[in-house]
């Protein structure tokens, strides 16, 4: 019996298993256990949450392998880790460590301003950020097995996540109403592979799982992203920068499952304590906007 590993089906399949779930940023094994106990479907292992990366400044790189291994040992759920955009050696190192899913992330400082990683070359799946449909399909063309809207990480402000989700969903609806002879022009305009435009138009959704990210801080934020049609959510700084991380983490998990039930969302939103302090996007200097990294 032949066992075939690293196939597109098993890469995209893990993303399918994460759907309807919450992926939480964690910086210590203790955080990872809190996230797992709250019902996270995966954790993102990193040295600093985006809010601290933003505050710290300088070059943000892949996390210390020692920390990632400690987090892998602490939990049984899948562990993700971030590499810099275009930094294929960081990606190779993280794959060698046994990480389950790689995030080629704009939250870290890009290593290559022209090229993203050739993700087909890896056995483990990649998730990549996008601001619109063209960017999503370019990353899928490179081999991404999962997409997330970029939002604006580390702000606790959901407005950019909503902007990017609405852009992707609106552009898919536009494709669906096109005549087939208009798809090539759409591919040219968006700068994306034609075959993926056709596939997306016919499916009426992205060919891979699509999560929301970048600014989700409350159960209502998470449920809103689900009602907008996303498959699940990443919560970065929103949990461990709040006043009661275990309760908020559990509430966000429940909000993603029961996203269409306002009565339940009201119940679980009671008395959660302070959410993370939010940032007004217009007050962030343009050079510090993370979503602009990558293309």
């Amino acid at each position: 019996m032949e066992k075939e590993t690293g196939t597109e089906t098993v890469k995209r399949g893990l993303a399918q298993m994460l759907k309807g779930g919450v992926i939480m940023d964690v910086v210590t094994p203790e955080h990872a256990i809190i996230a797992e106990d709250a019902g996270a479907c995966a954790v993102m292992a990193l040295e600093r949450v985006p809010a601290d990366i933003r505050a710290h400044g300088g070059v943000a790189r892949m996390s210390d392998p020692e920390l990632i291994l400690q987090i892998i040992d602490a939990v049984t759920i899948p562990v993700m880790a971030k590499c810099r955009i275009g930094h294929f050696v960081e990606a190779q190192v993280l794959e060698a460590l046994g990480v389950d899913f790689l995030d080629e992330s704009e939250v870290l400082t890009p290593a290559d301003e022209e090229h993203h990683i050739d993700k087909q070359a890896f056995k483990i799946p990649f998730v990549c950020g996008c601001r619109n449909l063209g960017e999503a399909l370019r990353r899928i063309g490179e081999g991404a097995a999962m997409i997330r809207t970029k939002g604006e990480a580390g702000t606790g402000n959901v407005v950019e996540a909503v902007r990017h989700a609405r852009a992707v969903m609106g552009e898919i609806r536009r494709l669906q109403h096109m005549a087939p002879e208009e798809w090539m022009a759409a591919a040219k305009e968006m700068g994306t592979p034609y075959e993926l435009v056709v596939e997306t138009a016919q499916l009426g959704r992205l060919p891979v799982v699509n999560f929301a990210a970048g600014g989700i801080a409350t159960p209502a934020d998470a449920a809103m992203m689900m009602q907008l049609g996303l498959d699940g959510v990443f919560v970065g700084s929103g949990i461990f920068k709040s006043s009661d991380p275990p309760r908020r983490a559990k509430a966000i998990v429940e909000a993603v499952t029961h996203y269409n039930d306002p009565g339940i969302i009201a119940e679980i939103s009671k008395g959660l304590g302070e959410a993370m302090p939010g940032l007004e996007i217009s007050e962030i200097p343009e050079a510090e906007l993370l979503a602009q990294r990558g293309w």
Binding site: G20, I77, V253, T257
Partner: protein, 207 residues
């Protein structure tokens, strides 16, 4: 027409619903105990077993699902769903629903880099196969998959690897697969489950 529930707490539930509907079955999402009422069968999908298990406890779904299984209704767990149905979980995990006499090992094949596809023999599918499908292997998609390490006396092994590892089993009206038939175009396992539902309708009690 039989009404089949798919537990929709987290994971790949839409994939199961699509296959069931393509077979003209009525499929509904289940997130709360009241949504279990009137079901003739239930699928517990793949996803993260800890996530689904915790949500099932919080929202009071464990006892009603046990009751459904005990009444003889058909219940099928895929991957994480298999873990939730098993009575014994190796390495300290607590059983959650615990109705099938199986011992399972979580993530038995390793991490995601070891996830794989393989063609496996499932002779029992011949009962629901078209003539052209008879004797055909089933394409198994194994994602951070569990393995059934031993089964009790009342459990029928439906598929095992050449090395003996068990990946599909049936105990009366309960079905468990370590892999994901819902991620393939082959609907034989779903047809097999619908046949179990039809058989149980004659014998199960009202819940």
């Amino acid at each position: 027409m039989s009404r089949i529930g798919v537990l929709a707490l987290q994971g790949a539930f839409i994939e199961h619903i699509k296959v069931l509907r393509s077979l003209d079955a009525e499929a509904v999402e289940v997130r709360l105990p009241r949504e279990l009422e009137g079901l003739e069968g239930l699928i517990i999908p793949g996803g993260e077993s800890t996530t689904a298990g915790k949500l099932a406890v919080t929202y009071g779904l464990i006892e009603p699902i046990k009751k459904l299984a005990d009444a003889g209704k058909a219940v099928w767990g895929t991957c994480a769903g298999l873990i939730l149905l098993a009575k014994h979980i190796e390495e300290g995990e607590q059983p959650v629903i615990g109705v099938m006499d199986l011992a399972v090992q979580r993530n038995a094949f390793g991490r995601q880099v070891d996830s794989f596809e393989a063609d496996i023999p499932v002779p029992a599918l011949d009962a629901v196969s078209a003539p052209s499908e008879k004797g055909c292997l089933f394409h198994g998609v194994f994602i951070r998959a569990p393995l059934i390490v031993s089964v009790g006396a009342g459990v029928e092994v439906l598929s095992r690897f050449a090395d003996g590892g068990i990946v599909a089993a049936r105990q009366g009206s309960l079905l468990a697969t370590a892999f994901h038939p819902e991620l393939t175009d082959d609907a034989r396992f779903h047809r097999y489950f619908l046949k179990m539902v039809a058989e149980s309708e004659g014998t199960s009690e009202a819940v």
